[in-house]
Symmetry: C2
Subunit: 220 residues, 2 copies
C-alpha cells in the first residue's frame, strides 16, 4: 500500500469514529441502551436475542447485519422484536457494519420508545471489532464449541468489548473444552471484561444476562 | 468510495489473481496438491489436519494463517506436519490470506518433496473467500454447530469452493440441526460442490476425506 491509500483509510475511519461518538451520545440522551453483538457465524447471537425478547418487558429494537438473507431478522420479528435489516451483499458483501449504516437505519426507524437497541453484527470474529458502531456496550459472543484458544487468536474483539457472553453451555459435556481455560484466555486479553455464561437453548445462565440488561437499561 | 480508490483496489486484486494463477500452475508441475481450508473460527480445521497427518503416508506441508499466536502451527508440528506460520497481526491484523504471502512462504520453505500443501486460512467465513490464494481445491469447512442457514448467509465461501467438509458430526445428536437441510442449502448456493461429512474427533467419515485426498494427491 502506498502512502496515499493509507491516508484515505484513515479519513474513513475518522469519519466512522465521529459518527459512532455522536450515536453513543444521542442514544444515551434518549435513554436507550445500545449493545453491539459480535461473534463468529453460528455462535448463537440470534437465539440469545430471541430468548432475551421473551424475558424482557421493555421494548427492544434490533438492527440485523447480514451479508445476505433476512432469515435472522425474520426470527427476531417472530420473537416480537422490532427489527431493521442491513444486507451488505449489494454493497460488495462488507464483512462488518459501520456507524454510518446504523445512523441511517435509525433515521429510517426512529425507535424512540425502545429501551434497548441491539446491533447483531455480521458473523465474523475479525473485522467488526475494527469498526466502532457507537454502542454503549460492545459484546463478544463465543460458543463453547469454538475452543479455548479463540481469544488469543482473535484478540481484538475481546479487547474492544466490555462484555463477553460464553454461549451454548449445554454442549459443554460433549466437548473437550476447558471453560476455565477459555475464561483465563479471555481475561488475559482483557482483564476488565465482564464474562457471563449461558445456554439460550436450556435457559441456563440466562437470568444473569437479563439482570445485566435490567441493571443498565434506561439508566446509562 | 470515489473512483480512484476502486481503481487501486482492482489493481491489488489483479495482482493477487496473477500470483494465484502462477502458484496454481507451479505446484501442479511439482505434483503438489494444494488445498485451501476456509471456515469460521473453531470449525475444526486444525483438528482435521492433525487427523489427516496421522493417516496419510505422503508428506504434508502446511501454511498456517492466524492473526495472532502460533498455537495451531504448534499443534500441526506435533502431529508431524512441516508447517510455516503466517501471522497477520503485525500487518494490521488482516482478516484473510493473499496469494503473495503464500508465494513468499513457499520461497522460504521450498517443500519440494511434499505431496500435499494445505493452507489453513484465517478463521473467517467472509473475507478469505474474496481472495484467490492459488489453491487447486478451495475447501470450506462448516461445523454442524453453526446451523443450517450459514451457506445462505455467507454464500461466497461456498460458491468459490470445490469441496465442503461438514465437521463435528459427533455433536449432531445434541443439536437441533437438520444436516439434510444444511446440505440442501450448500447445494442451493453451489450445485457442483462436493460434500463430505466427518468427525475428526471420533474418526467417523474420515476415510471418505482421506480417499478424496489419495485419489487426487500427486495426480493433478
Amino acid at each position: 500500500m502506498d502512502e496515499k491509500e493509507i491516508k484515505v483509510m484513515q479519513k474513513i475511519l475518522n469519519m466512522n469514529d465521529r459518527i459512532a461518538a455522536e450515536l453513543r451520545e444521542e442514544l444515551k440522551e434518549k435513554g436507550i441502551l445500545y449493545i453491539n453483538l459480535m461473534s463468529s457465524p453460528g455462535s448463537g447471537k440470534t437465539t440469545i436475542l430471541e430468548q432475551t425478547a421473551r424475558n424482557i418487558e421493555e421494548k427492544m429494537f434490533a438492527i440485523e447485519g447480514d451479508i445476505q438473507t433476512t432469515l435472522d431478522a425474520e426470527r427476531l420479528s417472530r420473537a416480537g422484536i422490532e427489527v431493521f435489516q442491513i444486507n451488505t451483499g449489494p454493497f460488495g458483501g462488507d464483512c462488518h457494519l459501520e456507524a454510518g449504516w446504523i445512523k441511517s437505519a435509525l433515521e429510517e426507524c426512529n425507535p424512540e420508545d425502545a429501551k434497548f437497541l441491539f446491533v447483531e453484527n455480521i458473523g465474523n470474529l475479525v473485522c467488526p471489532a475494527e469498526f466502532d458502531v457507537g454502542a454503549h456496550i460492545n459484546t463478544v459472543v463465543i460458543s463453547v464449541t469454538e475452543g479455548e484458544d479463540k481469544p488469543l487468536k482473535y484478540p481484538l474483539a475481546f479487547r474492544n468489548s466490555q462484555l463477553c457472553l460464553i454461549s451454548k453451555l449445554d454442549l459443554l459435556p460433549y466437548l473437550d473444552v476447558d471453560i476455565e481455560l477459555l475464561k483465563d484466555n479471555i481475561r488475559q486479553i482483557n482483564p476488565r471484561i465482564e464474562i457471563l455464561e449461558l445456554s439460550a437453548k436450556t435457559g441456563e445462565g440466562l437470568s444473569g444476562w437479563l439482570a445485566y440488561l435490567r441493571e443498565r437499561g434506561g439508566i446509562e
